[in-house]
Structures are given as structure tokens and as C-alpha cells.
């Protein structure tokens, strides 16, 4: 009986030791895999940083060349280099427009990179959001008219004086949303609404355009996040516009979101901004 007990005890100890050894081996294996992953992650971070730096450098250089070209064409179009024929003037004006688009594209990439790195300074100035919306609408109206799109303004008589970076909100948020609505609406109308409440500004742009599929929704506000078919409509899209808009809105303590019932059913983009941040 005593012998059997001893044998059982030895077997239990042996089983326990085996189990411990197995566990230790499993731990080591998991550790080695984690180590491999950690090293890959580090290498990826370095590669990403290098790529980011290169992208920043190239964008900066291209922006410089485009700006010089832009100035030259503006000079020709405006007669700074003497009188030129109407044909040359027209060519220069066309080239100037293209240069401006080029600068805007490069600026989008640079801005996105800077926002991601947290190297963007936001001004805190008091301005009227409603005036900014009206300014942008009047600037964008010719593009809407060209496509025979109606723009309906529902701007409530509220308090729209806010503190924030006027230029960034105007260019990256208001202009971007209206510009997108015009670009992605082949026909129909655009409704721009503004209201206030709870110390917040509620701004929305609704269109009867292409709409957003469920598949596209998750990548809408991501870096370089094109909608599946958006590139077919707007070949010049960088995919950074909504990403930048989100960064700017969130830097002001606000929220931005999109709603759509699906493809071909239009979409509505809403921005909620606190009056001060």
C-alpha cells in the first residue's frame, strides 16, 4: 500500500514537472513570436517615418516649383510682363488654374502629414462661422451653376460667433464639404444648413449625389480613404480631404460624421463645433 502511494506521488510529481516544462516551452515560444513581432513593428515604424519624411520633402519641393510656375502664369495672365495676345492670356489663365489645383493637392498631402505628426498650430481667433459659410458658398457657386446644381441655404438666425482657426475651418471643413457635394452630385441639389444650440454650431451639407456605400463608410475619414467609386468621378481626389477635415474639427473639440442611405441616395455631412475650445 505504502509502495503504491509512493508510486502515485512520484507519478503526480512527474506529471507536474512535465506540465511545467511544457508551459515553460510554450511561454518561450510565445515570447519568441512576440519578440519577432516587436522587431517587425520597430522596423515598420522606422520605414514609415522615412517614407513620411520623403513624402514631406517631395511635397515641399514640388509645392515650391508649382508656386513659382503659378506666379509666372499669374504675371502673364495679368499683363505684368507686358501686353500679350488674348490667346496667350487664355492659355496662361488655364495653366494658372491647373497650377493652383496642383498646389492645393500638394498642400493637402503636406497638411495631412503635419496634422498626423501634431506639428500644426491652430489659431484661436473670434470669427463669425455664418459669414465664413456665406463666403465659401459665393466662391463655390459658379462650380455648382456650371453643373446646374441648386444650392439651398437654410441658415438659422442664431449665434455663430466662435473661437477657432478661421482659415483652417473655412478651407478644410466648410469648403471641403461643399466642394465634395458639388463634385459628387451629378445632378440635383445641395442643401446647406446652419443652426445653433447647446453652445454649439451645427453645420451640415446634404446632397442628392452618389451617396456612400456601407463598404465605404468606415474608410471615409481615414488617411487616403477613397470611396470605391469616388476616383471614377473625381480622378484628382487625394483622399486626404475628409481626413484633414476630421482632424481640424476634432482639434476644435468638435465632431464630424456622414450619413447616407446608400449608393445613389445622396449623403449628408454634419459638423458640430463648440463655440469656444
Amino acid at each position: 500500500m505504502a509502495d503504491t502511494d509512493t508510486q502515485n506521488a512520484r507519478a503526480a510529481t512527474k506529471g507536474h514537472e512535465d506540465y511545467e516544462a511544457e508551459l515553460r516551452a510554450a511561454n518561450e515560444t510565445v515570447y519568441k513570436h512576440s519578440l519577432e513581432l516587436a522587431r517587425l513593428k520597430q522596423a515598420l515604424e522606422v520605414a514609415n517615418a522615412q517614407q513620411e519624411n520623403l513624402l514631406h520633402f517631395i511635397s515641399h519641393e514640388i509645392k515650391g516649383y508649382l508656386t513659382k510656375g503659378q506666379d509666372a502664369f499669374a504675371g502673364i495672365a495679368e499683363g505684368d510682363y507686358g501686353e500679350v495676345s488674348a490667346q496667350v492670356k487664355e492659355l496662361a489663365a488655364g495653366a494658372l488654374g491647373e497650377m493652383r489645383k496642383g498646389v492645393a493637392t500638394v498642400m493637402d498631402i503636406l497638411d495631412a502629414s503635419n496634422l498626423k505628426n501634431g506639428t500644426v498650430m491652430f489659431k484661436k481667433e473670434t470669427f463669425d462661422f455664418k459669414t465664413a459659410v456665406l463666403d465659401v458658398v459665393s466662391q463655390q457657386k459658379p462650380a455648382a451653376d456650371e453643373k446646374q446644381l441648386g444650392i439651398q441655404l437654410n441658415l438659422g438666425n442664431g449665434v455663430y460667433t466662435m473661437v477657432g482657426d478661421q482659415e483652417k475651418l473655412r478651407e478644410h471643413v466648410i469648403r471641403n464639404l461643399i466642394d465634395n457635394a458639388i463634385k459628387y452630385t451629378p445632378s440635383g441639389s445641395i442643401v446647406i444648413e446652419l443652426s445653433d444650440g447647446d453652445n454649439k454650431i451645427h453645420f451640415s451639407v446634404k446632397d442628392s449625389g452618389l451617396g456612400i456605400t456601407d463598404e465605404d463608410k468606415p474608410r471615409l475619414f481615414t488617411e487616403g480613404g477613397h470611396g470605391k467609386d469616388s476616383i471614377k468621378v473625381n480622378v484628382h481626389s487625394t483622399g486626404y480631404g475628409l481626413f484633414i477635415a476630421k482632424q481640424v474639427v476634432e482639434a476644435h473639440g468638435g465632431k464630424i460624421w456622414a450619413e447616407s442611405e446608400g449608393q445613389g441616395k445622396g449623403s449628408r455631412f454634419t459638423v458640430e463645433l463648440p463655440l469656444s475650445f
Binding site: R24, N27, E28, Y31, K32, S34, A38, K41
Partner: protein, 92 residues
């Protein structure tokens, strides 16, 4: 912060990259080593070299030889500038 505090902290930080927060909880179990809530590491009275050795052993006991190598690599530059006699045995 002493050179040994720095060595211990670097080792824990490197282990954290691989095993996450477990690196800190394991370091807290090492006798002679105090890990504050803000993750400041202080080696208390006693032999600091032995405390570092115990830290390395703590990881090795759980995760094997590979974790020992990670500790050694983490502080390779620091150790180079030390007199050989001052280097904890586990890191030689």
C-alpha cells in the same frame, strides 16, 4: 538615478515592447528593486549588480534564453562604457 537604475529601466522598457505591461509587474516582484506607479525604477540598498541579475533572471525564468538576450541587447551600449568589474554577471 544611478547607472544601475538606468540599466534596470532600459531592460524593463525593452521587455515591455515584447510582453507589454507584464514587464512591469514582473519587475515589481524582484527584491531590492522599487518600481513606482510612474514607472520610475530605483534599486534600493544592497548590491545593485545582484538586483539587475535578479531582474534578468526573473524574465529568463518565465520566457527563456531569448528574453535574456533581449536584456543584454537593451543595455549593450550602456554596459560598453562601464568597467568590466561593474557589469552585472548576467549582462557580460
Amino acid at each position: 538615478m544611478t547607472a544601475f537604475d538606468t540599466i534596470a529601466e532600459k531592460i524593463i522598457l525593452e521587455q515591455e515592447l515584447v510582453i507589454g505591461p507584464l514587464a512591469w509587474s514582473e519587475a515589481m516582484k524582484v527584491s531590492g528593486m522599487q518600481v513606482a506607479a510612474d514607472h520610475t525604477v530605483t534599486i534600493q540598498n544592497g548590491d545593485p549588480k545582484a538586483a539587475v541579475d535578479r531582474l534578468v533572471a526573473q524574465y529568463e525564468r518565465l520566457f527563456g534564453r531569448a528574453s535574456h538576450e533581449v536584456c543584454r541587447e537593451a543595455v549593450a551600449t550602456l554596459v560598453k562604457s562601464m568597467a568590466p568589474a561593474d557589469v552585472p554577471t548576467s549582462l557580460r
